[in-house]
Amino acid sequence: MLQTTIAQGPAPTVFLAGEMDLDCADTLREAVAEAARGAQMVVLDFAGVEFIDSSGTGIFVRLCLDMKSQGTPLLARNLSPAVRGVFEMLRVPELVGEDVFQS
């Protein structure tokens, strides 16, 4: 199960914790929508993500593309090596743009 915590501010951040799989879509979308109100961008902090599979990855990619087209792009930070490995295998940086990933 995915848990989210929102830190509002000039760069609102959604802290993600737990598992990103088939079930995470609604939780992730609702949290990002709430954080995005009136914001110019939203940061997703992956530090607490213990597990992600291709369903979770697909949901993230879809959301990234949707938010970019709505003018409120996402930034992703604090990816663990496991999450980074899955994203690189599935070419996520190519799909959503390298600029989504903060170093």
Binding site: L22, F51, D53, S54, S55, G58, I59, R62, L65, M89
Partner: protein
């Protein structure tokens, strides 16, 4: 642009030629009436004799990316993978990987021995090998989480490092998620211990893998296509077995315990 969902099917068929036979038989898909049996048998015999993987491009007038026919010799038989694109090339430019590329990855995995396509006898033997360690009936993703954690515990006890455990449970997640989405919505996940490996069997009685549903346009909040899942499974596991047909799909996910 060709609409893949509305157009002719893109398909992967697997036939098997056993040394000495005069015909090939289906392992995935059906044998069509117009299948050039003699030609297939001749090429399969040649691949077996030479012990060499052979791949042919079968061009069609309206197809920039040719269909492919791959012959993979294995002991006393030769598996023949037929990839038909029917003029379909790439998906609509969204984030999905090309289906042709996915099928080519599958063919390459068979060629290099990572993926074995199993017939009914092989499935029966391989799913009964070794001793059963865990079994879960799975109908929803919350149960998948429980199963994943139970397998992780066994892997930890077996001495696998963190990265290997993560990769293994990820592959289980991919296989079970596919089962929940496309395999009739429920099925079983069994962990078995064999002499040289741990084997996870993911089996359903769904309609069989439909390669077209790998390239459905993405839903607003839906998951990624199974093409991603298979890429992960083939990259991260030591050996994979696949059987699929109208009475269900079985995947064997193997992690070697000895090197």
């Amino acid at each position: 642009m060709v609409d893949a969902a509305a157009g002719s099917p893109v398909s992967l068929q697997v036939y098997r030629y056993t040394q000495g036979d005069s015909v090939v038989r289906p392992v995935i898909g059906e044998i069509e009436d117009d299948l050039p049996q003699e030609e297939l048998v001749a090429h399969a015999s040649e691949a077996l004799t030479s012990g060499t993987f052979m791949c042919f491009a079968v061009s069609q007038a309206d197809d920039f990316v040719a269909d492919e026919l791959c012959f993979v010799p294995q002991d006393d038989h030769c598996d023949i993978l037929s990839i038909r694109t029917n003029g379909w090339q790439r998906h609509h430019g969204d984030h999905r990987r090309s289906l042709v590329e996915i099928l080519n990855n599958l063919a390459a995995a068979v060629a290099c021995g990572k993926l074995r396509v199993l017939d009914a006898d092989q499935v029966a033997a391989e799913t009964a090998a070794g001793e059963q360690v865990l079994h879960f009936d799975i109908r929803q993703s919350a149960e998948l989480t429980t199963a994943r954690e139970a397998v992780d515990d066994v892997l930890r006890e077996a001495g696998f490092d963190d990265a290997t455990r993560k990769r293994t449970t990820l592959c289980i997640s991919e296989a079970v998620t596919n089962m929940l989405l496309h395999g009739g919505g429920h099925g079983g996940m069994t962990l078995r211990r064999l002499e040289d490996r741990l084997r996870v069997v993911v089996a359903d009685h769904g309609p069989g893998l439909n390669f077209l549903n790998w390239i459905e346009p993405p839903k607003a909040k839906g998951p990624a296509s199974m093409g991603y899942g298979f890429k992960i499974i083939l990259d991260y596991l030591d050996a994979v077995g696949l059987s699929t047909g109208p009475s269900g799909t079985t995947l064997l996910l193997d992690r070697m315990t000895t090197t």
